[in-house]
């Protein structure tokens, strides 16, 4: 334990170095803005800005600084989501949906300052509790995971996909389709085991010889890069979807923030919102660890539990301060929780952590249990930066609320084209290939159309990141067992994980059967 505190102290010191501190500050400010803008969330900010981190790595010569920058955006976005939820009544991101339930009524009754301060302080407490839990759990989990072989790692990935099917709450066939398309897109290019070309669409319409060579598809030979899909989905698709769904009908509640009002609001928070903050901090972290769960269900569950145990449940939805504190503490806590499997097992639990994982791979790191043993110079400053960013975020949030409120008035007709331009230029800057930019735009337009029909796209983004890791692990496991799939059931660690994954996949089916059995039992006495 002493070594952990020593490493953490050193990490915090590294995070406080001027360059890292500046990056954390900029990241938090960008994140707050991104989180506050309706239609943009942490994943949009992280995905669109990932190409720009190459320049940070180039100048600092380390992967720690770009990661601190992206992690700060992630943090900032969790804080920022509350600003638009309270003042506009539109969640800046899905993670702040639950904040709207009581934050908006508070704003409409002239107490927006109370809600904004409660959200900021609860976020800080949630983030700090989660950081302490992360520091305690991560090294232990990483040391256990060092014994994992190919079957165990594949079983974990199966579990990550299974949670999307079982707990994601989206249409089952559409979720499975989304996972599979992500995995198939990840196979485009060359088979890394045999070296054979795969799905390069040499003549995409070769079913009809007359059309051979009509479309130049040589760009597929280098595979479909993760960022191309992520920026397409979150930079283009989500933006067009927001333009279509919001239709410019956004009204803002005016609020005045002064030092005296912040002091009164803090006093109010201390008396009325500690219970929600505690529930959100604890529950959010553990829900955040689960793949496919993350900050949104974490915040919704915390809101539900806070309401359930409240003495005044009827006040919820009408402007209860605990109803703001619980989801805000939870979404911050969950965002740190989601980093735990990503950093210790190499399994991202959410689209944002998937982007962060892809970034780590691009910067030459191998996320997973060996990261803690082999790269302590990367891991501990990053964990240290979680603490620093959390503190910066609460201070910036409270100090700059009026500026963010002013920025929120920026018309979407200015923000949207700038994001389109940033997406196009960012994709080109990452790979310097126009083919990838075309593909990104086409993915974005396709994502918009699929989104209208309720196709979940986060599983596809997660799958294209995990695909290049999952396939070799699966094939090497089957090679080890001479093609016998029982290897995933007979090993002591892989076995239970695979069984849980299968139960999760079958969970929706089991639910249907259970409902039918229950309804038939209910009908029997009547007959």
């Amino acid at each position: 334990m002493i070594e952990i505190f020593a490493a953490l102290g050193d990490g915090v010191w590294q995070a406080l170095q001027p360059i890292n501190l500046a990056l954390a500050f900029i990241g938090v400010v960008v994140g707050l803005f991104v989180g506050a803008m309706p239609g943009l969330g942490s994943v949009n900010g992280v995905a669109i800005l990932l190409p720009f981190t190459f320049v940070i790595q180039k100048y600092t010569g380390t992967a720690t600084s770009p990661m601190i920058f992206l992690a700060a955006i992630y943090y900032g976005a969790m804080y920022g989501g509350a600003i638009s939820s309270i003042t506009l009544g539109i969640p800046g991101a899905s993670t702040a949906v639950a904040t709207t339930f009581d934050g908006r009524p508070l704003a409409l009754s002239g107490r927006a300052d109370r809600a904004l301060v409660a959200a900021a302080v609860a976020s800080f407490v949630g983030g700090t509790v989660a950081n302490l839990l992360f520091t305690g759990f991560a090294p232990a989990l990483a040391s256990v995971a060092l014994d994992f072989g190919n079957p165990e790692i594949f079983a974990l990935m199966l579990l990550a996909f299974a949670t999307f099917v079982g707990l994601g709450g989206d249409d089952i066939p559409k979720t499975i389709f989304s996972i599979c398309i992500g995995l198939v897109l990840a196979t485009v290019g060359f088979d890394i085991i045999s070296g054979e070309p795969r799905l390069q669409f040499g003549d995409p319409l070769d079913l009809f010889p007359a059309t051979a060579g009509l479309i130049d598809t040589t760009g597929f030979s280098h595979g479909i890069r993760f960022l191309v899909l992520a920026i397409g989905v979150y930079g283009i698709g989500e933006m067009i979807w927001t333009i279509n769904s919001s239709r410019g009908k956004i009204t803002m509640t005016e609020t005045t923030i002064t030092f005296a009002r912040i002091r009164d609001a803090l006093d109010d928070y201390r008396r009325k919102a500690w219970k929600g903050t505690f529930i959100g901090s604890a529950l959010g972290f553990f829900v955040g660890i689960l793949p496919a769960a993350g900050a949104t269900p974490g915040s919704l569950m915390s809101y539900g539990v806070a309401k359930m145990i409240s003495r005044n449940p009827d006040n919820y939805g009408k402007g209860e301060l605990d109803g703001v504190a619980a989801p805000e503490a939870a979404n911050n806590s969950a965002s740190t929780g989601a980093m735990l499997p990503m950093m210790t097992l190499g399994i991202p639990g959410s689209p944002t952590t998937a982007v962060l994982l892809a970034g780590m791979v691009i910067w030459g790191l191998q996320p997973g249990p060996r990261l803690f043993a082999d790269q302590p110079d990367f891991v501990w400053p990053l964990i240290g930066s979680f603490y620093v960013s959390n503190l910066i975020a609460v201070l910036v949030n409270l100090a700059f609320i009026p500026i963010f409120l002013w920025m929120l008035r920026m018309p979407f007709t200015i923000l949207a084209p700038l994001i389109f331009v940033l997406s196009v230029v960012g994709t080109f800057a990452a790979y310097q290939n126009l083919f990838d930019v075309w593909l990104m735009v086409l993915f974005g337009l396709g994502a918009f159309l699929l989104r209208i029909l309720d196709y979940p796209l986060a599983p596809a983004v997660l799958a294209i990141v995990l695909g290049p890791i999952a396939e070799p692990k699966l094939r090497q496991s089957l090679l080890l067992s001479d093609g016998d799939p029982s290897i995933f059931f007979t090993r002591p660690i892989a076995g239970p994980i695979t069984v849980i994954a299968i139960i999760l996949i079958l969970l929706p089916l089991l639910k249907i059967i259970w409902t039918k059995v229950k309804s038939s039992r209910a009908e029997t006495p009547a007959q």
């Binding site: 599979c180 067009i240 007709t413 075309w438 209208i452 699966l474």
Partner: protein, 176 residues
């Protein structure tokens, strides 16, 4: 929405079949391998190269059929919905915004990133956003200038400039 649901399922089903067909493609340099010979197990080597994408595409095809069955039984929300897939606003928005983006991409091929960026931003801000000429010009001129100094000068990532390349030669001399 209901019609769009089944049309999309059919398109995705056909796309899955196409991916299955392409996954079974043997490498061009080995004529002894027939199509679909690479989707099984190889003795002592484990799964062949097409095994993973082929079976994933098969699952995609099964899911497309499943979506179709749900449509038939009206169990998914879009299959029950009476709303139109894209109303007049949505169609117009997709044409103007999506079309504008594709136009931006075409422009990049000919006039390069910076001129394309200027034209796209001007089009979006002035015609779609109805912003004033001053604000439109400030953003649509300022953004390419910022991008030039960020990418070409600071990051040394030279963005394609198409036919406008000669206009940048004096800037290269000063800054690069």
């Amino acid at each position: 929405m209901r019609r769009a649901e089944i049309v999309t399922a059919i398109i995705l089903g056909i796309f899955s079949l196409y991916l299955m067909w392409k996954s079974g493609e043997a490498p061009a340099w080995d004529p002894s391998v027939a199509r679909f010979d690479n989707i099984g197990m190889i003795e002592g080597e484990g799964p062949a190269s097409g095994w993973w994408p082929f079976w994933l595409s098969t699952i995609m095809l099964i899911c497309s059929i499943w979506i179709g069955v749900n449509w038939w039984r009206r169990t998914s929300p879009p299959s029950r919905s009476d709303e139109v897939f894209l109303d007049a606003y949505g169609r117009r928005m997709l044409l103007l915004v999506g079309g504008g983006l594709l136009g931006f991409m075409v422009l990049i091929q000919f006039v390069g990133f910076y001129a394309g960026m200027f034209i796209f931003l001007f089009y979006y801000l002035f015609f779609l956003g109805r912003h004033s000429v001053v604000r439109t010009l400030a953003i649509s001129v300022g953004t390419p200038i910022f991008c030039f100094f960020f990418f070409d000068v600071a990051m040394r990532i030279v963005l394609p400039k198409g036919v406008t390349e000669p206009l940048f030669l004096p800037l290269y001399k000063i800054f690069l």
